[in-house]
């Protein structure tokens, strides 16, 4: 922290600060969507796809681009379960916890996932490889329990198949 009264080095305050990479990405994504406020969800999706999450630093430039208040932008971001405000693992593993999967033992599957990866639902493994999340319904209810990694859907997932899926991710990462 600079001492009061001491002249700071570096660019002066009134000079426009260079945009950070996050801000550049946010501005670019908004522009691709014509800076239209009704495309805000699509903008978040795209940003999350690029950065892995939607950093708080992206919100002011989005608000400016769409001519909405920061509070509104923040309100939308935090309303939806799908958007992450903080970095997540390289792989997001969604485990369905809805009724059809409950009927086929998803509670045990969740417990197994938490134990074998040593993180609670919503957490990320220590090596940053996997985040496990609960979701409610992946539309694979006749082949439950269901799990989704990225866009890949898995059906009839028991503990063993879960471990194979996770091992497959590690292998992919190593290659």
């Amino acid at each position: 922290m600079a001492k009061v009264g001491k002249k700071q080095k570096g660019p002066r305050r009134e000079e426009p600060a260079a945009l950070t990479p996050v801000e550049i990405a946010a501005v670019a994504v908004c522009a691709r969507h014509g800076n239209k406020p009704d495309e805000l969800l699509e903008i978040f999706h795209e940003l999350q796809h690029e950065l892995g999450y939607v950093p708080d630093a992206a919100l002011p430039p989005i608000a400016q681009a769409l001519n909405r208040s920061r509070a509104e932008i923040y309100g939308v971001l935090t309303f939806y379960h799908e958007f992450h405000r903080h970095p997540v693992g390289r792989n997001v593993v969604k485990i369905c916890r809805a009724e059809a999967c409950q009927a086929m033992g998803t509670d045990e599957l969740c417990r197994h996932a938490e134990h074998s990866l040593n993180v609670p639902l919503g957490g990320t493994t220590a090596d940053g490889s996997v985040t496990i999340e609960q979701v409610f319904c992946l539309g694979n209810c006749a082949l439950s329990p269901a799990v989704m990694v990225g866009e890949k859907l898995y059906g009839k997932v028991d503990s063993q198949r879960f471990d194979e899926i996770i091992a497959g991710l590690e292998k992919e990462a190593a290659e």
């Binding site: 379960h81 009927a103 979701v135 006749a142 009839k156």
Partner: protein, 521 residues
């Protein structure tokens, strides 16, 4: 050249359809067999997925469930000639599960290449739209009214009335919005149709647009369905290029364009007004009604909102007439419903049948009982906000009115089966918990009521002042049902109270342990 079908439906992919298709291609190459692989939609016999079909002179022959390990053996056994095999089921359309259905909406699903417009046309696709292009909008509305079609999303509101409202309004801008936020557990009909026959939805929405006078439409798809999003976007592009969408469709005076919007994991956006907010780029918070969305919907303009299944029923209604559709069904529940059998079930899948079939027929005859082989104890019908039905009600015909009489709802026809190991107090608790997670927060009965509901059920399970808390739970449910703004809080009491009434013994068990009882106090 032999045509082999391997589905590209997400459920089929989830059990290895891509890998099986690749293995068949490899094996065919190695054996110098001239094989063409078509990636079709699913026939809905999900227990047989990946269901591989071979086109023979006698018809399409089914093999399933096929894994990559089985592929060489299938070639050895002469499956390319439709020969019998341990995994063989004979002609697909003779399999009783499939044969005994009444497929109107799903007539093409699993049969065609979902993205081929030629295939679609060859199987009766766009026949309805071609007729609609020649009709007066009001006559389209009349045809839909005649069919008796009611919203297939669950609420069962007559579709014709909705369309008439929009038709009668003057306005320079109107919209059509498809609610494809199929968030209910036990449902996958929307997903199957979007992936297996996307033009059917596009056609239905286009007919709605002509009827209502709209020129722009949105399909709001949940983010949990990435495959549906991809297929729809591709199908819309192709349809646009072939002038089945866009300006002056097929040389007519009508123009209509369609866009896909993706949700972001919020169950509440299945509620129509929340969905509108979400399409507009806002938080998915429910709107007060009135005004109803037909009058002030998307961007404040008149909007026809229907579920995927409702729109997808329209092409055949136009093609074959409202009476043809109306002749299926019972009472005031006309036409067919795509029943979805899911959860703990041996033969899970989609069964399209006229209204009037019973839970027992679906679960026992089609489903073959539970996957675990244990007795069926409860079936939740109509999604997470639907009632849990005990065996005593398994013979009630599936009909909006008959189900309402027994405090249940047919909803969108999703059935989730549980065996006798289910703890219904736990399921009731989950219904409340789900509401706490997914409530939009606008109204107090839903937002706070569900939180208190979890606590009350916890006390009941822990045997803390059980009698008093049972009364309190019922009271709370009445408040939520009467005071909530939308179906989220308004219907959560359905699963809860159906569990209490249908399975009272599960709320009378000894407390799990003293520690829990103390914690619940």
């Amino acid at each position: 050249m032999i045509t082999v079908f391997v589905p590209r439906d997400a459920a089929a992919l989830s059990v290895g359809a891509d890998e099986v298709a690749a293995a068949i291609e490899r094996e065919a190459k190695n054996r110098n067999e001239d094989v063409r692989i078509v990636r079709n939609g699913s026939r809905g016999m999900l227990y047989l997925e990946p269901l591989v079909e071979v086109e023979t002179e006698a018809g399409r022959v089914a093999y399933g469930p096929v894994s990559t390990r089985d592929v060489a053996g299938l070639f050895d056994g002469g499956f390319l000639k439709g020969k019998s095999h341990a995994l063989g089921h004979g002609l697909t359309e003779e399999i009783p599960y499939f044969k005994n259905q009444e497929r109107l909406t799903f007539a093409r699903c699993g049969i065609t290449d979902p993205l081929s417009i030629e295939d679609y046309r060859k199987h009766g696709g766009f026949d309805g739209l071609v007729k609609a292009l020649e009709m007066k909008p009001i006559d389209i509305v009349t045809e839909v009214t005649t069919s008796g079609l009611r919203g297939r999303g669950g609420a069962g509101f007559p579709t014709g009335i909705k369309w008439k409202t929009v038709h009668d309004l003057k306005g320079d801008e109107k919209y059509v919005a498809c609610n494809a936020d199929e968030g209910d557990s036990g449902t996958f009909a929307d997903r199957m149709l979007m992936e297996g026959d996307p033009y059917c939805l596009i056609e239905g929405m286009t007919i709605a647009a002509i009827a209502g006078g709209a020129t722009k439409g949105y399909i709001y798809v949940r983010s949990e369905y990435p495959h549906s999003v991809h297929v729809l976007r591709e199908a819309i592009d192709i349809a646009r290029k072939a002038n089945w969408l866009g300006d002056n469709i097929q040389g007519s005076q009508y123009s209509f364009d369609l866009f896909v919007r993706m949700g972001a994991g919020a169950y509440i956006c299945g509620e129509e007004t929340s969905m509108l907010e979400s399409i507009e780029g806002k938080r998915g918070i429910v709107r007060f009604k009135p005004p109803i969305p037909a009058i002030e919907g998307l961007f404040g303009k008149p909007t026809i909102i229907n579920n995927v299944m409702s729109f997808a029923a329209v092409p055949i209604i136009l093609a074959k007439g409202g009476e043809f559709y109306r002749d299926y069904g019972v009472g005031r529940s006309r036409g067919t419903l795509a029943f979805q059998i899911a959860g703990n079930i041996k033969q899970g899948g989609l069964v399209e049948k006229a209204f009037g079939i019973t839970t027992r027929q679906l679960v026992e005859d089609y489903g073959g009982g539970t996957a675990t082989g244990r007795p069926v104890r409860a079936v939740q019908v109509g999604g997470p906000l639907g009632a849990y039905i005990p065996e005593s009600k398994f013979d009630v015909p599936m009909d909006y009115e008959e189900f309402a009489k027994v405090d249940a709802m047919v909803g969108h026809g999703g059935l989730v089966v549980f065996d006798d190991t289910v703890d219904m107090a736990k399921q009731a608790r989950f219904a409340m918990e789900f509401c706490t997670i997914e409530s939009c927060g606008k109204c107090t009965p839903c937002r706070i009521g569900s939180t208190r509901g979890v606590e009350v059920i916890d006390r009941i399970i822990a045997d803390v002042d059980r009698e008093k808390n049972m009364v309190l739970l019922e009271d709370l449910c009445v408040t939520m049902a009467d005071g909530s703004l939308c179906a989220m809080g308004g219907l959560t009491p359905f699963p809860v109270m159906s569990a209490v009434r249908g399975f009272p013994e599960d709320f009378r068990k000894p407390a799990p342990n003293k520690f829990l009882a103390d914690a619940a106090e």
